[in-house]
Symmetry: C2
Subunit: 332 residues, 2 copies
């Protein structure tokens, strides 16, 4: 019986040692991975936009959510429902009052949010801007489209459609900086790289369908040999499409538009619009959250450095044509 | 005695259950985090440069290593020892032959590496460019300094030193694109934003100390009221410093230089150079590895998209003055 007792004691000791060893190992492991890219679910990051209901933000939010899953943190989506800067200021202030782990903001005004953004950053809440910047604010970084480069991309695509030869026009929104940059990128690229192509007209489409249609009607009558139109904005692109359809020039004029809302995608499927440029909205959301996480967890460049994150990330554009258009319809 | 036996049995069962439970929990935990940002140590990422021994790459490699630690993967550093493109091609080919998980490349020639880079990307090895780009290659992204913006930053800093008033000059390397951009950014910012300042001379310093000193000597004799010089490159900055010292104008002329090699930092400590611009080399290395990891683990935007990562990341610049210069000396 005494022998049995020893055996039991021995077995118990082995188990105790095993469990002890297991736990110690695990602690060591945890210590080693303190610096790993993993947050906690009570750590909440917020995306703030304006006109929060529009489709445009969906892929940005998807990117934000995908990054949150990879980092094991939580996200929330908030926004001004209208195109109303006062509403956006109020929403941003409400978000800040909850002291979140970080905020990604797209602003409808490059100046108006600055006092609120700066107050938050000074209070230790990381903020990055995405899609539309507040360049003079204290936000750590901006993630969006380099619009000049987008214009260049449109020019190269137009050259491909036209075999590098022919007259083209631009329908744009001349008073907005992003549209000016798209126009410049397109125009300079055609002028510098395609000697047999020419930008014969640049017209104001005012960002709406009807004005853009009328501007295109006029352009078509002045330049009967026109072979291509670059619309720097989505409503304009649909207007250009209507004009071309009405003039029965669908097969002789190539349209390149911007963004991927339903009207544009439908016209690509119908062969009216030849291509559109999709912005890297998923990337904007994904890398915004990564950046915020890195500031929150002090994994970015040392705090003594005033440039702790990359200053600007050009998320790029993708050319959408009939061949890949189906991938751009929302999946629901 | 039988009672004692039961007690032992009970205790043993409790331990067995505890250990079993512990292990199960741990497995569940691992499963749940499949999608987390964690690689394996046999997953090796390589950084490839030229003139691989110079200090300039140290902080980029530190960023690369810091990201590797956070992601639990391995890194290697390889490079051409000389400023020799054939050697860099050979090194890159050797690296590719080992089929690494990804490669971050800085090229000394914007074209020459393209065939090798493209072959690797087509074979499924992710490549990103950092510091110096190969814009027409199939590399997924470029992470480096926006040189135009760096020139703007230098202009604002110069305006601060001069209370927005006075004559300034530029010593540059007029045939290299990055130096042209720095010069343009500086000149345009002074012209557009500081009406009481004027860029009176732009001279070729040929990227070396002696030529830059001579160019500055000449500039000082032509423009005796000169109050500032922007050197777009580090050797030039030291040459400008020597000229200013010789002319005993240390207290009346502000020099802004580029990069943070020892000669420049020493002259900042001595009060000869007023400021230099440090590039975000740590950020280049850190986010290069993050990007490569995201392609390797298929965590980036869907493969149907030809823009799976941000196209360009501007890692920004930091102004280094006497106040923070000690942080920029290598720590060994």
């Amino acid at each position: 019986m005494k022998k049995l007792l020893f055996i039991y004691l021995f077995l118990i000791s082995v188990f105790v040692l095993y469990v002890y060893n297991y736990q110690t190992n695990n602690q060591a492991n945890n210590q080693w991975t303190n610096n790993e890219l993993r947050g906690t679910l009570d750590e909440s990051y917020v995306m703030v936009t304006f006109q929060s209901g529009i489709d445009y933000w969906k892929r940005a939010l998807k990117g934000f959510e995908d990054a949150a899953e990879a980092l094991s943190v939580s996200v929330e989506y908030r926004g001004a429902t209208q195109y109303d800067i006062q509403e956006e200021i109020t929403v941003l202030e409400q978000v800040i009052a909850k002291n979140p782990a970080g905020i990604a903001v797209s602003t409808m005004d490059p100046e108006a949010l600055n006092p609120v953004i700066n107050k938050a950053v000074e209070a230790g809440i990381p903020i990055v801007m995405f899609d539309a910047n507040a360049p003079k604010s204290k936000a750590y970084a901006f993630l969006g489209t380099d619009n000049y480069y987008a214009g260049e991309t449109a020019a190269h695509q137009m050259a491909k459609f036209l075999n590098e030869e022919g007259e083209v026009g631009i329908i744009t929104h001349p008073n907005q900086l992003n549209h000016k940059e798209r126009t410049e990128g397109f125009r300079n690229t055609i002028a510098n790289e395609y000697p047999k192509m020419k930008v014969v007209a640049i017209k104001d489409g005012r960002g709406d369908q009807m004005s853009s249609k009328e501007a295109t009607d006029e352009m078509l009558s002045l330049y009967p040999n026109l072979q291509g139109v670059f619309a720097t904005e989505a409503n304009g692109g649909v207007g250009v499409g209507q004009s071309i359809l009405e003039a029965q020039k669908k097969d002789s004029v190539h349209i390149i538009s911007f963004d991927t809302d339903k009207g544009t995608l439908d016209m690509i499927q119908e062969g009216v619009i030849s291509a559109t440029l999709a912005q890297g909205t998923w990337e904007m959301g994904y890398w915004s959250l990564q950046f915020l996480f890195h500031i929150q967890h002090d994994l970015a460049e040392s705090a003594t450095n005033d440039q702790r994150l990359p200053r600007f990330v050009d998320t790029g554009v993708t050319v959408v044509t009939k061949e890949n258009v189906t991938e751009y319809y929302p999946s629901e």
